[in-house]
Symmetry: C2
Subunit: 331 residues, 2 copies
């Protein structure tokens, strides 16, 4: 087995599809490509696109290294929402509006490789553990800030999937029993304070109350145009109000991460998503809040790190497939 | 190997020492005995008592079944506070006032068996998984309500110890970012609402404000004498105020358990400690709160159960030793 072998990784997001090819033994993803998901077209159209992207990426890599089709040994796919790993069925993905969709079966019908399917937050966490910020850790928690707040937990080198493949819903941890209403119906969830839309909503609230900020000019006075990205931009520009919004975000995120550290005592927590662009404006108050709330010995044992990979989800999906392939006896 | 083999289990508590002998393959603990810890005498006196209790229990069991000393294959010891399992050193136990005490080494010097040492909450959780309410589950969270609130997490049949053997501090999960001050220095911890002393303190606050309750007569008007046990007693007697205190306890405990279910997706959560004596007065509002806060699919996958063993900690300590012995190849 002297020729390099490869695994395909795909991240099916609510907004974009991303695909790439990763060496079986780990390394940089190659031939990365992205295109809009356009999920309103239904799951079959998305699967067709995913398979086309994967095939093109594989062709590109094999041409470059003069490889052969059999050098590609599998494909991992990350997808939002709970996924039944055994059957490869996406149980429910509100972002994609899929219910009980047999994703693995449909992809496997179109490609020549075995396919594994897992939740996108698990894939992103696995990617950062396998090749990113958490490389070499035996236990790691991933916290992914996006439209929602997701997470994953790796223990002794394996994702903790839980009893029904649903573990890792860290965004719906109650931090404030009578707090802000969350989209899930609960009150005071981490997600209700720290998701992208929650950050934007909190920023808008202050502006509507008359607070002065560079944010107003960044969106030409149209407060509805404010997104979390606008807030990060204003923070980097040194805007005091945006910095205040970011500090408050860091406090809630810090309380949530403190809980995860007290419960799980991980070697590392990797924070992923656009929020990490705020850099020290996020991580300094976040670290302080964690230290204030979690046990000292457990905080000392844990590094809190920003994600390092550009496409944690693609690398992680490929990595899960790779782990399965590598653990099989070679015939 | 036809004669039955045995493991000793010991639970070193802040108040009492408990010891017993458990069949290697599982079963009822035998020759259970308990005596006050009297930790002010220092660790050596406690170790001497533990060893004496273990030897007496072993003699009793071996006499009864006409066994031989070599039928006892090991001893497990549970102890409050973080424990370094590799070295068997108790890192810090505020309840016992021990710091960096080499517990395993000191016990092994006095007995003929190998010894394992672990945190008491981990032992209690393991006991309920091995022989109690969670028997047969692949994943289980234990929540132990006593002077503090402790916990443990079993995944695929093994305790998740974390990076520095400190996982399971579920009592210090923030549920209320600006809430009640906890003994740990943090605000709004589960323990600040649901530990035995917190339940008693909340009950006292209402009585001092003039609320009528059977609690007043149960302690002859001396509010300082109210403990969590008094509150459970009044609940069982049907006292409306005590029931209200218990319902509030159930709400916080429910929010904490909902967080654990969202994060870990366990097959079962086992609640241990005196609080379970309140029965349905606790479990009915607790279940409702969990259902209100956690994802439906994860709640549906999880049973919330009261502990079943009288001495979960003794059985679990023995069980951890037993797991180690059984996993060794028989020479």
């Amino acid at each position: 087995m002297s020729r390099p072998r490869w695994v395909v990784g795909v991240d099916i997001g609510g907004t974009n599809l991303v695909a790439g090819v990763v060496p079986l033994e780990g390394g940089e993803p190659r031939a990365l490509r992205t295109q809009p998901t356009l999920s309103h077209r239904g799951p079959e159209a998305v699967v067709t696109d995913v398979v086309r992207m994967a095939r093109t990426a594989v062709r590109e890599v094999l041409a470059e290294i003069e490889g052969k089709p059999e050098d590609v040994v599998g494909m991992g796919v990350g997808c939002p929402g709970p996924v039944d790993r055994q059957s490869g069925v996406v149980i429910e993905s509100p972002n994609l509006r899929w219910v009980d969709y047999p994703l693995r079966e449909r992809i496997e019908a179109l490609v020549d490789w075995p396919v594994v399917v897992d939740n996108d937050a698990n894939c992103a966490t696995y990617g950062e553990w396998w090749q990113g910020a958490g490389k070499g850790c035996s236990s790691l928690v991933g916290v992914i800030i996006g439209t929602g707040v997701g997470g994953g937990f790796i223990y002794e080198g394996r994702i903790v999937h839980g009893a029904s493949d649903g573990a890792g819903e860290v965004g719906h941890m109650t931090l404030n029993v009578s707090g802000r209403r969350c989209a899930c119906g609960n009150e005071g969830c981490l997600e209700a304070y720290a998701s992208g839309p929650a950050i934007a909503a909190r920023a808008r609230e202050g502006l509507e109350a008359g607070t002065e900020s560079v944010l107003t000019s960044l969106v030409d006075g149209v407060f509805d145009d404010i997104t979390a990205a606008t807030v990060y931009e204003a923070v980097v520009m040194g805007d005091p109000y945006a910095t205040e919004v970011m500090t408050e975000t860091a406090k809630f995120l810090g309380a949530g991460i403190a809980n995860l550290i007290n419960i799980l005592n991980p070697e590392a927590v990797v924070v992923m998503g656009g929020v990490t662009r705020a850099g020290d404006h996020l991580f300094v108050p976040l670290q302080a809040e964690v230290r204030r709330r979690a046990f000292k010995a457990l905080v000392d044992a844990c590094r809190i790190l920003p994600a390092r990979l550009p496409e944690s989800g693609v690398v992680g999906a490929a990595g899960m497939m790779a782990a399965g392939v590598r653990s099989q006896p070679t015939a």
